[in-house]
């Protein structure tokens, strides 16, 4: 199982918080609640948090599972460099974002959730975790060796595996005649 990477949980929590904030905001605006301006803010903040948190970071160890179609988000988030890589920045960003959510009931839940996410991120940052993008692994191709000088000693077509098996008691019978002549390239 290994060391706990708190940022993974913080990411799930923050994404959920973003969705809850967004939903609360939509309810607040749609119902034109008292102080619906805060709800409008919550829509923007929730959407922003969702976009920021959608691309899951890479795990230090083991396989990282991407969210469906997160690649283009990953590229965007990655382009901010150290700002999005550092979890202290995220912790304080979320802490700041969540504050106005506390001013109306519809967004309180999102606000508290985001606050909790911010705390978990802070813990992750203190433990020295960082956001690393999950990028498709570029297949490392082996360099093609120098052109083969010698012709293969046993070129295809080869006999099936059973035929190839050497029988200790009958070494003669185990041998077979190569159907193709093997000669060195005479050029």
């Amino acid at each position: 199982m290994g060391k706990i990477e708190w940022a993974m949980w913080a990411n799930e929590q923050a994404l959920a918080a973003g969705l809850i904030l967004l939903t609360g905001g939509i309810v607040g605006v749609a119902g034109t609640f008292r102080g619906w301006q805060f709800a409008a803010y919550a829509i923007a903040a929730g959407a922003f948090v969702c976009l920021l948190e959608y691309p899951r970071g890479k795990r230090n160890k083991g396989t990282s599972v991407e969210r469906t179609g997160q690649y283009c988000f990953t590229v965007c988030v990655k382009s901010f460099g150290p700002v999005t890589r550092n979890y202290y920045v995220r912790a304080f960003l979320h802490a700041a974002i969540c504050v106005p959510g506390g001013f109306m009931l519809a967004t309180v839940l999102g606000c508290v959730c985001l606050g909790i996410a911010s705390l978990i991120y802070l813990g992750a940052a203190i433990r020295g975790e960082q956001w690393e993008p999950i990028l498709p692994r570029t297949a490392t191709r082996k360099a093609v060796g120098e052109s083969i000088k010698q012709p293969p000693q046993n070129p295809p077509p080869r006999p099936p595996a059973e035929m190839r098996r050497k029988r200790a008691e009958d070494l003669e019978g185990a041998a077979y005649v190569n159907p193709v002549d093997v000669t060195a390239n005479e050029e």
């Binding site: 708190w6 939903t23 508290v112 050497k166």
Partner: protein, 561 residues
């Protein structure tokens, strides 16, 4: 279609019943609140949000009742035991307990969202009515009060407070916020990625369920949803248009309201009690003495513990939960037993994969020769599908990676039964598929296979067990190694008679072969491995079984971790 019914019929039936009850509760309570006369005035303030809040609440009650049951593992063992007569299809349902637990949890999540949104609207509209922003009737209803302040309708009693203040100071509001937060934390920490990789986070956060249930039980105690209690004296069809006359004319006395009786506790008290029993039983099991018979440290950091406990009786393929108080008082870890029931001890093989296992292994390594290991609590055994292995004519066992462990016990036990010619053994033939990336972590298992192979050969029953090894992770140097040793009798990797295959098995071919070799048999397919493989095998089982009971039929079983 016929194949689908054989393999998934009962599961689908259970799900349909569950969904049916959910829909019934939702619709029933929706119309109860949407049409009920006693709620006429309440609806006047709240509109349809009243019914939209109450209908999910009823569904929530039902699902909170269900959510604890699938995780009572001792209860499930008990039920499984009493279903012995009812055949394996019934018992197989009990192995899907965690899937059902998740399904119920999704329903709780969804209904919580609807319930919360509806109540957000309710609070806002109560508040607006209190401020007199709607029609005269709404204002009049909000102003209703008596000297004891018990027959009011609008729970927001003063003008000064904000909805947030109300939500955080009323019993229903504050418990609602707290238990929703608990629920959110539980859900976010149960996501696949967290649960699989950081089990401790998942495990500890899940214990917020205690707060969740306490909050849930008292959530309704504030009796905030109020209905009219003097319908016979105060007829709203006559009086609703003249709120200014209320109390002054004999036809229209002041309407009186009372809160609904809190019901949630009646729904959840039973499961809560059962779960409490479950935890008490776990504690009792934890206190029982366990003796070490033997501690073996195998190569590649695998620890074998052979334990003895009084009154402990196991079946094949079952697992136990171990708790080592020296490492953590609270953590219970599941381990599949690798011994056969015929042996007088039970054993587990523990691989070093995480903090807990690492600590245990290093503790054991430091022990002096012949000493007893650290104190160990054992809960179990708990049953899974593989105890049905002997009841099929032919068994196909598929182990992937670490998933071979339950089969250690099965293979051993089959061997014991075979030796003693146990009449209970229906099995005539075992196919065993072992898929893994690399074998050296499982050398102990290859050892076991080797012993079995030798003994079977000695008794001339070599064709009883057919096993195939599939190595999925291999590279060029490996291939060369294999090619060089091609003509050796035993395999390079495992030292077994059967050669290792490379790459993944071609299931079509394997199933075809099994069907051809065993016409008119019931074949049990048992998997201990990843979900992806489970889907493939489940599909193949459905595809290759015949509806005709006289022909080959495949039943799919999956182990859960």
């Amino acid at each position: 279609m016929g194949n689908m019914i054989i393999n998934h019929g009962l599961t689908s039936f259970i799900l349909i019943v569950w969904m049916g009850i959910n829909i019934f509760l939702f619709v029933w309570f929706y119309f109860f609140y949407d049409l009920g006369e006693q709620f006429f005035y309440t609806r006047h303030l709240l509109g349809s949000a009243l019914a939209w809040a109450r209908a999910p609440a009823a569904v929530l009650n039902f699902n909170c009742l269900l959510i604890l049951l699938p995780v009572c593992r001792n209860l499930l063992s008990l039920v499984r035991g009493s279903f012995m007569c009812c055949g394996r299809t019934m018992r197989k349902q009990l192995d899907k307990n965690i899937s059902f637990h998740k399904l119920v949890a999704y329903m709780i999540g969804l209904m919580t969202a609807v319930h919360t949104i509806a109540h957000l609207l309710n609070v806002e509209w109560y508040n607006n009515s209190r401020r007199g922003e709607y029609d005269g009737l709404s204002t009049a209803l909000s102003d209703l009060e008596d000297t004891d302040n018990t027959t009011y309708l609008n729970p927001i009693r003063t003008l000064e407070i904000t909805p947030t203040y109300f939500a955080l100071t009323s019993l229903a509001g504050i418990t609602g916020v707290i238990i929703t937060l608990c629920l959110i934390l539980i859900i976010t920490s149960s996501m696949e990625v967290i649960r699989r990789s950081y089990f401790e986070v998942f495990w500890y956060t899940h214990h917020l369920f205690v707060i969740f249930f306490i909050g849930l039980v008292i959530h309704g105690a504030g009796r905030i949803v109020r209905s009219q209690s003097n319908l016979d004296k105060h007829n709203f069809t006559l009086c609703k248009d003249r709120p200014q006359d209320w109390g002054n004319v004999p036809d229209c006395p002041l309407p009186q309201f009372a809160g609904g009786f809190p019901q949630t506790w009646m729904w959840v008290i039973g499961p809560m009690f059962l779960y409490l029993c479950e935890r008490v039983l776990r504690f009792v099991r934890y206190m029982q003495a366990v003796r070490y018979r033997k501690i073996v440290i195998r190569p590649s950091k695998v620890l074998e513990l052979q334990l003895v406990k009084n009154g402990f009786k196991m079946e094949v393929g079952q697992y136990v939960f171990l708790n080592c108080p020296a490492i953590s008082q609270l953590e219970w870890h599941p381990f599949t037993m690798t011994s056969a029931p015929e042996e007088e001890f039970f054993s587990v093989h523990i691989r070093s994969v995480g903090d807990w296992t690492q600590k245990l292994i290093s503790m054991v390594e430091e022990l002096p020769e012949g000493a007893q290991g650290p104190r160990m609590g054992v809960d179990g055994p708990f049953g899974t599908a593989s105890e049905d292995v002997f009841e099929y004519d032919v068994s196909m066992l598929v182990g992937a990676g670490i998933g071979v462990t339950p089969f250690a016990s099965i293979l051993k036990s089959i061997w014991y039964k075979f030796k003693d010619s146990d009449p209970k053994l229906r099995t005539r033939k075992i196919y065993f598929y072992w898929l893994c990336r690399e074998t050296h972590a499982f050398e102990w298992f290859a050892d076991l296979l080797q012993v079995l192979e030798k003994e079977m050969e000695e008794r001339g029953m070599g064709d009883f067990l057919t096993y195939k090894l599939f190595l999925t992770g291999w590279d060029q140097s490996h291939t060369e190694h294999v090619m060089v040793r091609f003509d050796q009798d035993t395999d390079v990797v495992t030292g077994l008679k059967q050669k290792t295959h490379y790459g993944r098995p071609n299931w079509e071919k394997e199933f075809e072969q099994v069907r051809k070799d065993n016409p008119s048999s019931t074949v049990g397919t048992f998997l201990c491995g990843p979900q992806v493989l489970a889907k493939v095998l489940a599909k193949k089982c459905a595809k290759y079984s015949d509806v005709d009971p006289r022909k080959t039929r495949f039943y799919f079983n999956k182990e859960n971790f």
